[in-house]
Amino acid sequence: MAQTTGERYRVAPVHRRGREWPFPLNLYQTAVGRKWVMALTGIGLIGFVLAHMVGNLHVYEGPARMHEYAESLRTIGGGLVPKATVLWLLRLGLLSMFVLHLHSAISLSRMSRASSENAGLVSGAKKYAGGREHLAATYASRTMRWTGPIIALFILYHLADLTWGWWLGDDFVAGDPYHNVYTSLSTLPVAILYIVANVALAWHIFHGAWSMFQSLGVNNPHYNHLRRSLATLLAGLILVGNLSFPILTQAGLVDEDNRTCPVGEVEGNDCLAEQAEGHGD
């Protein structure tokens, strides 16, 4: 650093921060703090994705079991609180994590972009005429800003598809998730969409689940070599689990041939509930 001159700070700050918010909100005003938020919400979201995937494996046990699982989500908390209270709290938590994850990502990308202004930007990415060689950055790390929006758009589609039933129309039967999943995923374009989105999700997690350790400063020679393996394992599990639904439905493993309860008996779904009970533990 041999650039000492009489003038101080010849370079004007690229980013200016406004008034400091009260603790702990001020943590979110800094980029390092925002990365903490991104990492922590990332952990929560990965937890959700895993639970969602494991829960959905019930689809391979048939309509009754699937219904029982869906019903069990509403009764988390037992008799302590009114039905579905805990489920709604979880949904609210999930939504907040999602919003924070998205906001931190977007604002930090903008910060980085502004920091690279006049730096030979080519379609938003810093580019050198000499040809930029990525030496360490993985394909996954460089495409976080693409896989992220793909996942976000997919989640909206997915909610409209299987929670609100927008596209299934009369085929959508509330309280019969097995039927809805089967009806949706047995359409080839929809199955392909689910496959593409889940590849993007696994890709995103492959970098994210490694990166979060660095962002949180969780770094220890005892286990550093395991961080990449854990990220790979998580991404792999989610990839295999989530891709199995569209692929096995297309392959005919999920179908309604052996269905004994008629589709459409929605209210309480007594037939499905009885079957689930009769199934025993």
Partner: protein, 260 residues
């Protein structure tokens, strides 16, 4: 400065020329016959002599010690900070790394926090601003103090020394797709924060340096390009340490431990 074996290689240089901070810049092409034993900067020196002789403006680039320890030099060579050789500053890069007929693109380090002064010289004073915000110490510049006056555990000394190897060249910022200065700042924060002498102001220093860094540079996304570009191979572990220390600095009760 002729080659020891009398051999030369012919290279085509595409060099970034820019008359001033706000002037538009463009590439200028020069053909050079050069000994493979010449250093990269000597090759530029020779080219500048030719330009001088022809009455043209020489190429502005920075260098000082030319032995890889001052951090003054630094250009992008074929899209890589400090060129193709790993763990090497531009001044220690030699033309033997190139082959006859190669085209070599030479550009300044790019980042909004590093505005171009002229040609290949950029203003890296934001790095100085980060150092300044870390505070200062008063050291009696008289006789050297006893070597073992302050005992330093071996592990801390080793780790601090690894961090202190940072020469502040800015290659990490140049190589970073986000133009983040995390590797530089974390090396400086880590260097002082790991030593017993640096404990008293560990938290306020970390906080101030990180927040100054964030005024000029981008946000780290853990690509790891910085470590690859670093002539001193500073480890990404220091970034993790800084992220942790920063959060500790923000949440711990510093008043109780006598730190502002």
């Amino acid at each position: 400065m002729s080659g020891t074996h009398g051999e030369t290689i012919n290279v085509t240089l595409k060099v970034w020329r820019q008359a001033g901070p706000d002037a538009p810049g463009d590439f200028e092409v020069h053909r050079q016959a050069i000994s493979p034993d010449a250093s990269f900067l000597e090759m530029l020196d020779l080219l500048n002599e030719e330009l001088n002789a022809a009455g043209k403006e020489p190429i502005a680039f920075e260098s000082d010690c030319r032995e890889g320890i001052c951090g003054t030099c630094g250009v992008m060579v074929n899209g890589r900070a400090h060129g193709p050789q790993k763990a090497t500053a531009t001044c220690q890069l030699h033309m033997r790394e190139f082959r006859d007929g190669d085209e070599i693109v030479v550009e300044p380090f790019r980042a909004a926090g590093f505005p171009v002064i002229r040609d290949l010289a950029v203003d890296r004073s934001p790095l100085d601003a980060i150092i300044e915000s870390g505070g200062y110490i008063s050291v009696n510049a008289g006789a050297a103090s006893d070597a073992n006056l302050t005992p330093v555990p071996r592990a801390a000394a080793d780790q601090a020394f690894d961090a202190a190897a940072c020469i502040g060249c800015g290659a990490c910022v140049a190589a970073c797709p986000n133009s983040a200065a995390q590797l530089f700042t974390s090396a400086k924060v880590g260097h002082l924060g790991l030593l017993p002498q640096g404990q008293a102001e560990r938290w306020s220093r970390t906080e101030a340096m990180v927040e100054t860094m964030e005024q000029f540079f981008g946000s780290c996304t853990n690509h790891g390009e910085c470590t690859e570009a670093c002539p001193k191979e500073i480890s990404l572990d220091f970034i993790a340490l800084m992220n942790r220390d920063y959060m500790k600095a923000k949440v711990r009760n510093r008043a109780l431990t006598g730190q502002h």
